[in-house]
Symmetry: C2
Subunit: 382 residues, 2 copies
């Protein structure tokens, strides 16, 4: 079945030569219209923008256009395939932005993987854009690139692999603990995988007030006795109220309420699920193969299971976050993303589910109201 | 009247927030379509491109998309207004590409005016594009930037202020000397203004076989006794068969058959036109105010007058060249522009005029066949 999807996808891409086209909003079918859209009329628009640079947002595509930027270093789960191989993914993302939120988006795939060069290139191409969606850039460079660009640019910058993933995980968690009658202060969380999405998810949970978190990476539980922790891991450890101890993932999940996997296929066993608290909440988000398959998790007593896949209930899909997030930023002309915006989006998305149940913790991206919920939430930060 | 155009143009830009939008070629209205356009299906497209980079042209927007790149250093006739002020012009150009030739085009306005940084930035963003149209970049940097990018990139690069302008001037000249029964070998040409368009026009005339050319810049006739000539001016002087002598523009045009002005308003006087040969051909291309107004030129005996303006006969407008030129390069997947392509385009465009007369030396951009003539001509160089 996977092979069919691959074959059909290749055909679709070949037949259409990609997915994004640029279209003129004006029909240039008369000399008069050309004189307004181009010379001589356009000279006045240029002069006005030179006089007041803020007018670029009023008079040009900058008003509603973002760049979807990648260096191809971490394409989907495929690894470092480079700039050309990133194009179909970034084009797909650009198509989703337009189709779901009316945001114009153009793919930029950079032929460099050097942190400073990426930062410089994005700053140099920024004038025509109203926002920058970073995508599929590997850790740890992605953290510095996002942080620096947010400081050095006057348009919103968001690395979706971090904040899209984190926001949808938090939204799902908010509704899950609602269903288990737990509080954010008391719930015990284990995060497996402390890469791009793991770090951002942890930061967002901490910012939201979920502090009892144990982290596991490929070497087991992250604790204060570990040598040479990365800056990000040390920061997360410092922010957690969980008792820090040595051990493996199996030790970490004993008695835990929530498992959030942003790691590798098959890491979570049925025995581990059985060792968790009474109503285990399992987000097995490794894609396409989760840390544990939903049927196995349920057999072992899981109360709620979410994955990244569309063929099981409870898909935790960042597509419910990023289109509305940029739409809100552009519509309200908000200069920069802040972490509290993502907490607020997660809360609003969670609250928007009216038929909440263990098999329906989140809206899907086809719920037409979700873009509005997200964009209206972010506009409160104007 | 100019003020009305300016006012209307501002309103048009404000109401539409620019002129270009990005549109998805696919309706993403089902989970199935999303699984083909995005994950999981798109993974196979990325893998295939990683395996064979040439497939990027088949499977992505690279097939039919070019960048319209400026640094804002020489916007129209307005000078160095910077990247933001360049956006409306590049957007207009992108709209023309799509409307007239079906070529997808996206404006890139770079926030740097350093030659090496521009070259590096364009190379870094090149993966998603099938061609680069450079625009409104000042001399002499534009010459090196184009030359280097042609060598260092594997997609076609053309600075339209050079080659669009030069090609349309040569096309007009070919038909003009047809009407005066002159030969390219014998016709005496004066080029006034040796900037971006002047240098390229001279190079193209020389490549076509029109060698009897005198050049004038702000210091008068360019001759071998002049100190510190730029590289470009020295090269042109070396290629000309005209007798090199000292003097002003008035001295240069005495007895000349053709005046090509790419310089400044009002430089050519009626007396100068009277001093030319029997049937003066005057291309007064300074924009919006020509070197001599058409009515004055005719009063002084001009046989053919062309300007850059749409409100007089014989508009020499590069819009008849650039859309079809890139369409041809993309359709035939030709790796790089060469000067002989522009000669061939000029000849083909000139030959396409069936109702040739002194008031109709060229097609207009609204002649629907001109894009086809240009693109089919360039495809011969596959």
């Amino acid at each position: 079945m996977q092979n069919d999807v691959y074959k059909e996808s290749l055909e679709l891409h070949q037949n259409n030569h990609g997915k994004i086209e640029t279209v003129s909003k004006l029909k240039l079918d008369s000399a008069e219209m050309l004189s307004l859209a181009y010379t001589p009329g356009v000279a006045e628009v240029s002069r006005e923008i030179a006089r007041d640079p803020l007018l670029a947002r009023e008079y040009t595509l900058k008003h509603n256009t973002i760049a979807v930027v990648s260096d191809g270093s971490a394409i989907l789960g495929l690894g470092n395939l480079g700039a050309l191989a990133a194009i179909p993914v970034m084009e797909g993302k650009a198509a989703i932005f337009k189709e779901f939120a009316g945001v114009d988006a153009f793919p930029i795939c950079l032929d460099t993987q050097d942190t400073e060069e990426i930062i410089k290139a994005v700053k140099q191409i920024a004038p025509v854009f109203g926002g920058i969606n970073l995508e599929d850039i590997s850790a740890p460079r992605c953290f510095e690139i996002e942080e620096r660009l947010r400081k050095e640019l006057s348009i919103p910058v968001m690395h979706d692999d971090q904040w899209g993933a984190a926001t949808v995980a938090l939204a799902g968690l908010i509704n899950s603990i609602k269903l288990t009658n737990q509080t954010k202060e008391a719930v015990k969380v284990v995060i497996s995988g402390v890469g791009v999405a793991g770090v951002a998810t942890a930061r967002l949970l901490l910012a939201y007030g979920i502090n009892n978190i144990l982290y596991c990476d490929s070497q087991g539980i992250i604790h204060s006795g570990r040598d040479s922790l990365t800056k990000e891991k040390q920061e997360l450890l410092d922010g957690s109220t969980a008792k820090s101890f040595e051990g493996a993932l199996a030790d970490a999940v004993k008695g835990a309420d929530v498992f959030i996997g942003l790691s590798k296929p098959g890491l979570l066993t049925k025995d581990m699920v059985r060792s968790m608290s009474a109503k285990p909440i399992i987000f097995a988000l490794s894609n396409p193969t989760p840390e544990i398959m939903p049927d196995e998790a349920y057999e072992a007593g899981a109360f709620i299971v979410g994955t990244g896949r569309s063929d099981f209930p409870n898909q935790l899909n960042n597509s419910i976050v990023f289109p509305g997030a940029f739409k809100g930023m552009l519509d309200a002309n908000i200069p920069q993303f802040k972490i509290e915006m993502f907490s607020a989006i997660a809360q609003a998305v969670a609250d928007s589910v009216t038929d909440l149940s263990p098999k329906k913790i989140l809206p899907t991206m086809f719920d037409r109201s979700v873009v509005t919920v997200v964009s209206e939430t972010i506009q409160r930060y104007k």
